[in-house]
Amino acid sequence: MDYESVIGLEVHVQLKTKSKMFCACQNKYGSPPNTQVCPVCLGLPGTLPVMNEQAVKMTVLTGMMLGCEISPYSKFDRKNYFYPDMPKNYQISQYDMPLCKSGHIDLVKECYPKDAQNQVSAAKRIGITRIHLEEDVAKSFHLETTSSIDFNRAGTPLMEIVSEPDINTPEEAFAYLSTLRQILLYGKVSDADMEKGQMRCDCNISVRPVGQKEFGTKLEIKNMNTISGVRRALAYEIQRQTGCLKKGENLTQETRRWDEAAGQTFGMRSKEMAHDYRYFPEPDLMPVDTAVFMNEVKSWLPELPAAKKQRFMSDYRLTDYNAGVLVADLELANFFEVGAAPGKNPNAVANWVVNDLLRDLSESKLAIAQSPIKPLDIAELVEFCESGKISSRQAKDVFVEMFKTGKMPHRIIEEKGLSQVSDAAALETWCDEAIAANPQSVEAYKSGKTTALNHLKGQVMKLSKGKANPKTVDGILIKKLSA
């Protein structure tokens, strides 16, 4: 029997506001423990929350970017539970009137893991059930006999983005998360760094025999801190659950924890009692009427990856592949556009960025913002190639030097005395030398082996120390040999 999996993702995203959700404490990652706290985010009695306008608007912007309906009227609720990361014993969240509903994410090929891209045919649409806004909880560290708590994170504006159970493979989950992350970065609503906990993902997964209508037993996986970790955890879990079902075992509904080092999920000690949060409307906050600021937030809408890709292909005539690689990273796309602006050959700029620059950056573990080569340097390099001043072979060397030193191409060309020799007299001398030194190749060429010409051309390039213009050399050699 064949089995299929049904996956839904709940993604928590910290918003990149200056201050927290309900108090004016700084919203910043990595400060010393308990140094950005106040009575509100410590949950002290008698304090009152006041809503951060920017956080509400950023959530609405996220909803717009994900094609959601924005609720005209929304409110906050108290989610009651007891845990030391939330000492007021309730989290301010949204229950039945979230800010955004029914959106979607289209999974395009480039967002899948590299090794799975060739299996992707058509774009698949994953539904988004809802996006609500809440406050993040404090961070707890569990020691042998005690737990210790840092409240810096408590009260950080946190969006929860809930997908429909439309995802069927670990690769689709990967693509969903990387697309979502890309969109969040385009909208500048979050830095969405999973390793910093700015984007966190819980997976709901069940496995059922193909053709069965009812869902299988739903299990939740937590604690994945990279997008590829989510892929591995799901792959493991699907295999484990399928194995259990094949052996006729029953699965129990539980929460499992992914252990990256072990490459396994482990069942977590589950509470006796099912969660019963007794939600009720938060009396300390007034509802939100989104109509008032809809136009303002609409004006913030960025050009999204899919639209940018289309524009790169039509305006710059980039290949599908180049455009896809460039728009995957907003900074890279911007880098390209600055470099492409002055010249007539944007595709050449794209090739340098996509092939050479990305390779060198990744080898040096540098981000695009740290690139020693600036966009206009690439524009200049392309210009030198286009005008025939240097050969493409020389351009590769210049590029290596540019990356190493950060110098502009014209300085390197000057310093190294590089320039392509198109001067006929000099080229003829080298061609004569090559012909004289390689009678066998000459013979071969004359008897019809045209590939022998490449050998002779190679010799000329060698004699010229790579400076000869290969196209001109071709012409001269053919002329001399047919004489």
């Binding site: 004016a24 404490c25 010393p32 950005q36 951060n52 020691l143 708590i149």
Partner: protein, 100 residues
């Protein structure tokens, strides 16, 4: 056990457990009676005709009470940790909680 007019039963022991309250049997009986009376009181609202009235989350017709997104310094560390039952490395220390 008490019942409101919608017929839903309120399990005092369960609610007490949710609220982390430890009740004696006698307290449970007494509170069940008191809860009954509270629910009866609130139930008077059912006598009102609310046809055509939009539900609201708040009694005051006011929306969008916002704070602009500006950060201010919070409490000094010493002040922040003042109520900690125990502290270590500038963290609040509490009895171990098992991750749920």
């Amino acid at each position: 056990m008490s019942t409101n007019n919608s017929g839903k039963k309120i399990d005092v022991a369960y609610v007490a457990q949710l609220a982390r309250l430890e009740l004696t049997g006698e307290e449970r009986v007494r509170l069940a009676g008191q809860l009954d009376r509270i629910l009866e009181y609130v139930d008077q609202l059912r006598q009102l005709n609310v046809d055509g009235i939009e539900p609201t989350a708040h009694a005051i017709p006011q929306v969008n009470v916002f704070r602009s997104d500006e950060a201010r310094p919070g409490l000094p560390l010493k002040e922040a940790l003042k109520n900690a039952p125990q502290r270590m490395n500038d963290l609040f220390v509490v009895p171990k909680v098992v991750e749920d």
